[in-house]
Symmetry: C2
Subunit: 342 residues, 2 copies
């Protein structure tokens, strides 16, 4: 991850971020800042441009999504709020620390502060980078489940479906945003480098501890919801040039995937669709982190022999479900402090 941090720090410098507090990376940043001195626009463009990219080449085959896009009611889209699951054990705390650290670094790298609204360029850079990363863990976990099922010759009990759906959904986020902004050469390098590092870390982490891994993803999703909620507010407040305009055209791929009705084909509602997806991932991954990976079924997939009990909805459960809530025959813990769902 040091490489990733280094690359981010460079990116920070190149976008004229307030870097004085990242003392460790000052030498790199200093050099990069000198480089960036000549032309702010030119050096922004190595990360991302706000230019709407050209459409796919005419011969590109547009196929149905692997998994159909999710559907939400208007109430659900509006009801998603940032939330946080309090860490309860060392593994939780480590996951939370890592995510918070990465978040602060990205904030500084892209010059984001609590007070000033972000520019579209800042949003584009953050969202492109984060969505290219976000699609990795679901795929990695699906691979591990697949291999485990083969080694044991046992049914998967529904896990892979949800994990592959998550990976596909995150990839659709990236492809959507690729129709809003054109990544520059440095961003493309970041895609490659970060993926190489992150894929391997994920593969190893999921192998060592599925519970830590899914908790980590849960915390990542919490942060994604923070970012998209901020974007929602700033679009609503008319603070985001272009996107605050309800006639700003949103990508075709998004309209098709979420089946967005005419009156919701705006950047404001697109942001809410994506946020609802992230809320699903948040609840699902925090729940997965509470389960026994070897024996428990995936509670979010219907048991075909017991179709009367509906599957739980994770979108409005920021902390996920406790094991006793979703696994048959598991009793809630006696200890009061343990059972309190904060």
């Amino acid at each position: 991850s040091a490489r990733q941090i280094g690359q981010m720090a460079k990116a920070a410098a190149l976008t004229h971020a307030p870097v004085s507090t990242i003392s460790t990376y000052r030498p790199i940043l200093g050099a990069a800042q000198n480089l960036a001195h000549h032309s702010q626009i030119r050096h922004f463009s190595i990360l991302v441009t706000d230019k709407i990219p050209e459409k796919d080449p005419p011969k590109t085959r547009v196929t149905k999504p692997i998994f159909p896009g999710p559907t939400y009611t208007e109430e659900e889209l509006l009801a998603v709020v940032p939330g946080h699951r309090q860490p309860r054990c060392l593994s939780d705390r480590l996951a939370w620390r890592l995510v918070r650290g990465a978040r602060r670094l990205v904030d500084r790298a892209t010059g984001v502060t609590d007070v000033k609204p972000l520019t579209t360029t800042q949003y584009n850079a953050r969202i492109l980078f984060l969505e290219s990363i976000a699609a990795v863990p679901g795929m990695v976990a699906a691979v591990h489940r697949h291999l485990y099922s083969l080694r044991k010759g046992k049914r998967d009990q529904g896990w892979m479906k949800t994990l592959l759906e998550e990976a596909h959904n995150e990839r659709m986020h990236l492809l959507t945003w690729m129709n809003l902004a054109e990544p520059g050469w440095f961003m493309r390098l970041l895609f490659i480098g970060a993926q190489g590092v992150f894929f391997n870390i994920c593969f190893f982490a999921r192998w060592v501890s599925p519970n830590f891994f899914h908790r980590f993803v849960g915390y990542l999703e919490e942060e994604a919801i923070h970012t998209y909620t901020r974007l929602e507010k700033e679009i609503e407040n008319g603070q985001v040039k272009g996107w605050s305009d309800p006639t700003f055209p949103i990508p075709e791929i998004a309209i098709e995937y979420w089946n967005i009705p005419k009156d919701k084909q705006t950047m404001l509602w697109l942001t809410r669709y994506i946020r609802a997806d992230e809320a699903g991932h948040r609840g699902v991954n925090h729940t997965f982190a509470n389960l026994d990976q070897k024996h428990d079924p995936n509670p979010f997939e219907q048991d075909t022999r017991n179709t009367s009990s509906p599957v739980p909805n994770a979108i409005l459960r920021p902390q996920g479900f406790e094991r006793f809530e979703v696994i048959e025959g598991v009793k809630p813990p006696k200890d009061e402090s343990e059972s309190t769902l904060k």
Copy 2:
């Protein structure tokens, strides 16, 4: 793969195979044969038993398959025949050599000759081992396509769907057979060891050369069709104890997955359903090996903007489709010898 070979050789010895021709492994085999001397039955059972395993534990959640099972007409099920694509380049020849070598080794390891019909134990051992391996390449290729799409921010053009479907389908073959035979401890060790080796080889090979990789899988599938066709014939001829009996109950999981009608719920038809799946993989992978992985769409997924042209059916095309047959705007080669589809 040396490890795999070693393990196979051991397995060979333990099942009293005619091993005199595998001179390289004679020392290992000799030792193992001494070990096996005491009780043939006991040592067979370390590989596999013909005992029908107990059903899944009652709390197991039975979920819908990730991708619905394929559907075939009776004509299709009967029309699948073994076939071979002549290697045309060095990469093809290498793939073919590797598969043939592995095939011969497995034949010797499980004591299979051209003349004597196989026992159910021999079939169980082969099929369990091969199906646990067969589900790996599709998943590996899907991961590479996923990561590639993320790095480039480009549409996948339908590849992942077919690859994930293949991986899932092969896993269903394994799960089906796990309901017919109980693997012993040595087979379980083989599952783990072979998977560890094969997953990594596949991951690397798909990264280095997608074309070689898919050709190799195409040849593997050719061999699978040979095996299942032999099983079909020997069941038909009444040569397979138990399975030749049309009242022999086939696994519930298979009936549900392929939606097998009442009159086809026999081992004979189950064999044909699985063989039809393998024929699909054979045609698909030989086709994939002919394509440009970076730019060509997956011809087996419908273009949603051009639904009038049907997707090709790979089941009855043992050699797969040539690139000019399935990619728009590609001309057939001028050279006669090249364009002949053998």
